[in-house]
């Protein structure tokens, strides 16, 4: 394991930023968000960012291609912008796991070349949690907040940043900053892991049961009589889907520019009335159906198609952001039977 004294953290960031773009969580007036690092920018150790780290690989809006018409010819203009190497520092264990989930969607055949290109160019440096919140339920999905995944995993313990590379990309980045790091033993990190695991035991949702969603439960859950009650207060806004690190649905739009077409894709939300609207009409016309879709996707459809892996990482953003405080935890408790 490598270590860097915290007093040299700024040099570490500067060394990375000299090579490629570096993004990290920064405190603002309204919470914490990823920002581009430059001299003077301070890394925030806040538990998590407002928006998830999926934005780096699957941005909310993306211009995918332009068509320009001149006379009888149509020029196809490549508008790709995702060709630069970059580093995202400070990703938490929950968000780190979300990339594995998104990969299963975007890197499966047919490969989404925009996403694939960003993944290839991005290096993810994760940070272990030390002060989890009551809204954290990563443990329910087998995520260890003290040992986040990613190309490099980090811990801030005692007066140092500890780094451990997990992939070749991570090794390569560590080599670039080798002059700043020194070898260290794992004692401080091990002690922190043990202490945080004790804290996690006190959190109310870390052991949220998921068994009720394993196995052949599709029709049972789909036909549950509880959906109308659960979704009754839902406003049909897209907050839960847009702050979610694993929501991956998108829509594609063509804009008439007067002399051509600008084609863009943007996040879509299963909570919206025109989601899945097709030529024949819409397959989900009520908010109950739209609401059910979101949770069935995370808890039943995605696991069925992906070897049992749930489509939720327990980051807790939807718990704190939903305007009416309806969320996946309440759905799981209700459909799981223990709210009876």
């Amino acid at each position: 394991m490598k270590k860097i004294a915290l007093s040299k953290l700024n040099d570490f960031f500067a060394a990375i930023a000299a090579e490629e773009k570096l993004y990290l969580p920064v405190d603002g007036e309204k919470g914490t968000d990823y920002k581009l690092w430059s001299e003077g920018v301070t890394y925030s150790r806040a538990l998590n960012t407002n928006r998830s780290a999926k934005d780096f690989f699957f941005p909310q809006t993306e211009n995918i291609v332009d068509f320009k018409r001149e006379g009888k010819t149509i020029e196809v203009i490549d508008t790709r912008t995702e060709a630069e190497d970059f580093v995202v520092f400070g990703v938490r264990a929950c968000d780190a796991r979300s990339f594995g989930i998104l990969d299963k969607v975007f890197l499966a055949d047919p490969v989404d070349s925009f996403y694939a290109s960003r993944r290839a160019h991005g290096t993810i440096v994760t940070m272990a949690c030390t002060r989890p919140a009551e809204t954290c339920f990563c443990g329910a999905f087998g995520i260890d907040m003290t040992a986040p995944e990613g190309d490099i995993s980090c811990w801030i313990a005692e007066d140092a940043l500890w780094l451990s590379a997990n992939t070749e990309k991570g090794e390569a980045l560590l080599n670039k900053v080798a002059s700043l790091t020194e070898e260290g033993d794992t004692a401080a990190v091990d002690a922190q892991k043990a202490a945080v695991k004790e804290i996690a035991k006190k959190l109310p949702l870390q052991n949220l049961p998921t068994d009720a969603f394993k196995g052949d439960v599709l029709l049972e859950k789909f036909n549950s009589a509880k959906w109308p009650e659960l979704s009754k207060a839902c406003l049909g806004c897209g907050t839960c889907t847009f702050v979610c690190p694993t929501c991956q649905c998108y829509d594609v739009f063509d804009f008439d520019t007067g002399h051509g077409v600008k084609r863009a894709r943007c996040w879509d939300s299963c909570m919206y009335s025109d989601f899945t609207k097709m030529a024949h009409g819409n397959s989900r016309n009520s908010q109950v159906e739209r609401f059910r879709q979101r949770f069935m996707h995370k808890l039943v459809y995605f696991p069925m198609n992906n070897g049992g892996e749930f489509g939720c990482v327990g980051c807790g953003r939807c718990l704190s952001k939903c305007p009416i405080n309806m969320n996946i935890v309440k759905v799981m408790k209700s459909l799981g039977g223990d709210a009876e």
Binding site: R51, P132, F242, A264, D274, P323
Partner: protein, 325 residues
């Protein structure tokens, strides 16, 4: 309060005077609740909540509930009664189906303000006089309630219920000196460039989740133009970030004269954009140009923008106020 309300709701339901009660259901944590339609006395007994965190304005739920017929009771805080009146004025709800229970409100807390103090791992919150004692897995924290009160409650315009069939607790007074336009005045005092920068900064955080629109009691169109693929201006994706900003400005225009300043838009914004300031600017302008007017104060008066008086200001007012027209 909570027990009085709960008992009254159970009484109304059991006596068959109403067949459902619109209220709030206890949440997962000490600080969250979900609006709920109760049809069962046991459900009310076990799950009904009214405390320092029951902030959601329930009046908009009545639009959907009225379409189902039957009688219902609803709990309305003073600010919610303005929304109720406005909905009635616009014929969006059926007054005869609704039994309004006005409830006393002393302001609601904003859990984001509690968390912004670095308080994490909340396992309980108790109200002790003017303080909250917040229990967390990291230890207890005591804080004055007013320091974590929701922004809109700090500038509460009225503790007086504009409508009720019965009252639980006290009804108070309208407070003209609430200072709710202070921030608008600050923005007005800025140069146009400063103001532009302020709003571009705030609105640039918008993720276009539409929570502000969907929660707004003044936004009750069957289908919003921005959701309608046939409108030609459907806007799930914006061509430029400025278009994203315009959504909020257009929405503010649409609710001008109808917005009661309930503050739900800013409460629900996941990106903490102070959207209510746009609406307050319109309210302040209308007050200054057409005389004092408060949407939702009554159910019959004409709003300034749908009325005509000989002494209405002339369009040239924009020039007189130094605008660039």
């Amino acid at each position: 309060m909570q027990e009085l309300m709960k008992n009254r709701a159970i009484e109304l339901l059991s006596a068959g005077e109403v067949d459902r009660v619109v209220g709030w259901k206890k949440g997962e944590f000490a600080y969250d609740c979900t609006p709920a339609i109760f049809t069962d006395a046991n459900d009310l007994r076990d799950n009904f909540v009214y405390d320092d965190f029951t902030a959601p304005n329930l009046s908009k739920y009545l639009v959907a509930e009225c379409k189902k017929g039957g009688k219902m009771a609803v709990f309305l805080k003073p600010c919610d009664t303005y929304s109720f009146n406005q909905l009635q004025k616009e014929h969006r709800i059926k007054r005869e189906l609704i039994h309004v229970i006005g409830i006393e409100c002393n302001g609601k807390a904003d859990v984001d303000k509690i968390k912004a103090r670095g308080v994490d791992g909340i396992t309980g919150i108790t109200s002790e006089g003017a303080n909250f004692v917040v229990e967390t897995i990291y230890g207890n924290e005591t804080m004055p309630k007013y320091e974590v009160m929701a922004e809109r409650c700090l500038t509460c315009k009225s503790k007086k219920h504009m409508v009720y069939d019965e009252l639980i607790g006290e009804t108070g007074d309208v407070n003209p000196d609430c200072g709710r336009f202070d921030m608008v005045a600050k923005l007005e005092a800025m140069t146009p460039d400063e103001r532009f920068a302020f709003w571009r900064g705030e609105l640039s955080r918008c993720i276009r989740c539409n929570a502000c629109r969907n929660v707004c009691p003044a936004c009750t169109c069957e289908q919003c133009v921005f959701d309608n693929p046939n409108s030609g201006i459907q806007q799930k994706v914006a061509v430029t970030s400025f278009e994203e900003n315009m959504f909020h400005i257009i929405r503010a225009y649409h609710v001008a004269g109808r917005c009661t300043d309930c503050g739900e838009c800013s409460r629900v914004c996941p990106q903490s954009i102070p959207l209510h300031l746009l609406n307050r600017k319109f309210i302040k302008d209308m007050n200054e140009l057409y005389g004092e007017y408060q949407a939702g104060e009554d159910t019959t008066s004409r709003a300034p923008l749908t009325n005509y008086n000989m002494d209405d200001c002339e369009p040239s007012i924009v020039h007189e106020r130094g605008g660039k027209a």
